[in-house]
């Protein structure tokens, strides 16, 4: 287990490096002169030259990247063009909110998804199953921003059960988390259902039945754990969807997270912030995927060997 962890962590290094290269190149891929962008459209030729020199933009690309990376490692992403604060502070303020929202959303998605999936599988091909299918198909068909607006309209404006926007109390997280988590819940439910049905067709399930086990033990003890494995993989992939979706949901609910910051920064062409936010979100996703791998290896005794 320990060596597995070390090996997986080591395998992440090239991926993170690749991500950092991509993020670094972002600024240089923008059409036009990066120095001009940083200095602003109205800047004089001298100002632009000054910016070019002070940001090291006159250096070779490799040197610039090395500097970017060495600074990024210690958390120095430069200064925000917009607020003139260190980027790391801007990010630090928002990161916790995004993590909170993401965790709430995934908890909601996993709980609802697994429950619905198991129910649908146990009652497969019945009306219960069909209702679950229909609901989950609608779930993956509703865009986040529309669902968020509908929930706001329904629960905040008409029923007045939850606050409209912001992040002041625990109640504030409910609607954004449901908005963000619902499509994932639908995906998890479908995978859970099909996985459980597939597992229930396995030879060792027949063995368990031939042993005289009651059906709840067959499902609970022999099928569920095996059926959860593909679900774990999907949950890992859904995390990526959630982190991306957070950009939209945070905007809709004015949630002070990293996603909303990214959108604001893009609108203001505040590239250091965009770079850092994208890097932090990508690194989070990569680490979360590592976590799902570890959960997987706990569920499946065969993995630790390979």
């Amino acid at each position: 287990m320990g060596t597995l962890l070390v090996r997986r962590l080591a395998a992440l290094v090239p991926v993170i490096l690749g991500v950092s290269v991509a993020v670094f190149l972002m600024l240089h891929a923008v059409p036009g002169d990066p120095a001009q962008i940083i200095a602003g459209q109205e800047a004089s030729v001298e100002d632009v030259a000054q910016v070019r020199h002070s940001f090291g933009l006159d250096q070779p690309l490799a040197v610039q990247y090395a500097r970017f990376l060495s600074r990024a490692v210690v958390g120095d992403f430069g200064t925000s063009f917009r607020t003139k604060r260190p980027v790391i502070d801007e990010i630090g303020d928002r990161y916790g909110y995004t993590l909170l929202l993401g965790a709430a959303a995934i908890a909601f998605a996993v709980a609802v998804g697994i429950l619905v999936g198991v129910v649908a599988a146990v009652f497969k091909h019945s009306w219960v199953d069909n209702v679950c299918l229909l609901v989950s198909l609608v779930g993956v068909s509703v865009p986040n921003f529309f669902l968020g607006l509908l929930l706001m309209l329904g629960f905040s404006v008409w029923l007045q059960l939850f606050p409209l926007t912001g992040a002041d109390t625990a109640w504030h997280v409910v609607l954004p988390a449901v908005t963000l988590g619902l499509p994932s819940a639908a995906v998890i439910a479908r995978i859970m259902r099909s996985s459980l049905i597939e597992i229930l067709g396995n030879d060792y399930i027949r063995t368990a039945r031939a042993k005289g086990l009651p059906e709840w033990l067959v499902v609970g003890r022999h099928a569920l754990r095996n059926a959860l494995m593909p679900v774990v993989t999907v949950v890992g992939l859904q995390m990526g969807y959630l982190l991306g979706g957070a950009v939209i949901v945070e905007t809709v609910f004015a949630w002070p997270g990293l996603g909303r910051l990214t959108v604001q920064a893009i609108a203001a062409r505040d590239f250091p912030v965009v770079q850092a936010a994208v890097l932090v979100l990508a690194a989070t996703f990569v680490l979360v995927n590592l976590l799902t791998d570890l959960v997987y290896s706990i569920l499946d005794p065969r993995v630790t060997l390979s």
Binding site: T207, L213, D300
Partner: protein, 343 residues
């Protein structure tokens, strides 16, 4: 229950351990329902090894599954017939009562030892499970007994191996674990569905020896299902040959292999290559062939299922299904041509 025409019935002991009578199994397919088991009769005595042999699609595995009510759901069901075991008709029991019998008085092992064990549970736990369910043992006591059972089926260092997961074991060892699991509650009947098909021949011989030993020690009866005539010849006391969803011949092993009566049995025995036939660097004679292929389940013939491949076919074979008739004491044949002589 209507008694069907069977003159030999009186010669057999009054109540066998298992008496399958006119069993019909129906399976739904995209082409509609078909009957892969279409009137099977089997009688198994206590403590004997009874072989059921036939090619793929003859209905032997489905017959075995239907005994324990393990037909694929929801597409499979027992359409008619009875399965008398001790004093009950298993075909009419509900799921609850069947569960009390499964793994307790009748146990079953399967063809694929690689996939028949749960990959995420320790083998000791999997063996212990039946003891917890049927004997009400605590998990701890059951595990202790499971270790004992594993030792008995020849797993070295069972105390430690009990905590191993199945993927650490070879195929032969896994089949031993399956047997330990099946024998946990000292069943009266062990159904072994192609137990050695996935194993190498040397391992196959060891597993079959183990089953022989268990029969001798525990007095368990074994329903040994296989496509391999050699295994049956070596291990079984009585044999039923299945074709097209019915038993076409049933006899003691000596009778069947020395005087096969049904043209299908006859043809199959001649088609099997046997060791020691090659002489003087000459290529042996061609094997005898049965022309054609296994019958089409979706369009069952009105007469004998084997008629279209049979060299002895007469007109009645296409029209009418022959009965399973006795040709000698303990030897029954379902054939219009060869099944009527002798008596």
């Amino acid at each position: 229950m209507a008694v069907h025409a069977d003159p030999s019935a009186s010669e057999l002991p009054v109540s066998p351990l298992l008496d399958v009578s006119r069993l019909v199994v129906e399976i739904d397919t995209l082409q509609g329902p078909v009957r892969p088991v279409d009137g099977v009769d089997l009688r198994i005595e206590a403590g004997e090894i009874f072989g059921v042999v036939g090619e793929s699609g003859c209905g032997k595995s489905l017959t075995a599954l239907s005994i324990l009510g393990l037909l694929p759901r929801p597409q499979g069901r027992i359409r008619s017939g009875s399965i008398r075991f001790e004093d009950q008709d298993l075909a009419r029991l509900d799921e609850r009562d069947l569960r009390r019998i499964r793994g307790n008085r009748i146990a079953m092992i399967f063809q694929e030892p690689m996939t028949s064990l749960n990959p995420v549970l320790g083998i000791g736990d999997q063996v212990a499970e039946a003891l917890v369910i049927h004997r009400g043992l605590s998990r701890r006591d059951a595990l202790a007994q499971a270790i004992h059972l594993l030792e008995r089926v020849g797993i070295a260092d069972a105390r430690h191996r009990a905590h191993d997961f199945p993927h650490r074991l070879s195929g032969g060892m896994r089949q031993r674990v399956m047997i330990a699991m099946a024998m946990a509650c000292r069943p009266k009947l062990l159904i072994a569905d192609e137990p050695t098909t996935a194993l190498d021949v040397t391992i196959q011989a060891q597993v079959l020896d183990l089953m022989d030993d268990l029969k001798a020690e525990d007095g368990v009866a074994v329903l040994l299902i296989t496509h391999n005539f050699g295994i049956v010849a070596e291990r079984a006391a009585r044999v039923a040959v299945m074709y097209g969803g019915v038993v076409v011949e049933e006899a003691s092993t000596e009778q069947l292999f020395e005087q096969p009566r049904h043209p299908y049995t006859h043809g199959l025995l001649a088609a099997v290559p046997q060791l020691g036939r090659r002489r003087d660097g000459m290529r042996p004679h061609p094997l005898s062939e049965i022309p054609g292929m296994v019958p089409n389940l979706a369009r069952p013939a009105p007469g004998c299922a084997f008629a279209d491949r049979c060299a002895l076919r007469v007109e009645a074979c296409l029209r009418e299904r022959p009965p399973l008739a006795a040709v000698a004491p303990g030897h029954r044949v379902r054939c219009h041509v060869t099944g009527v002589s002798a008596q």
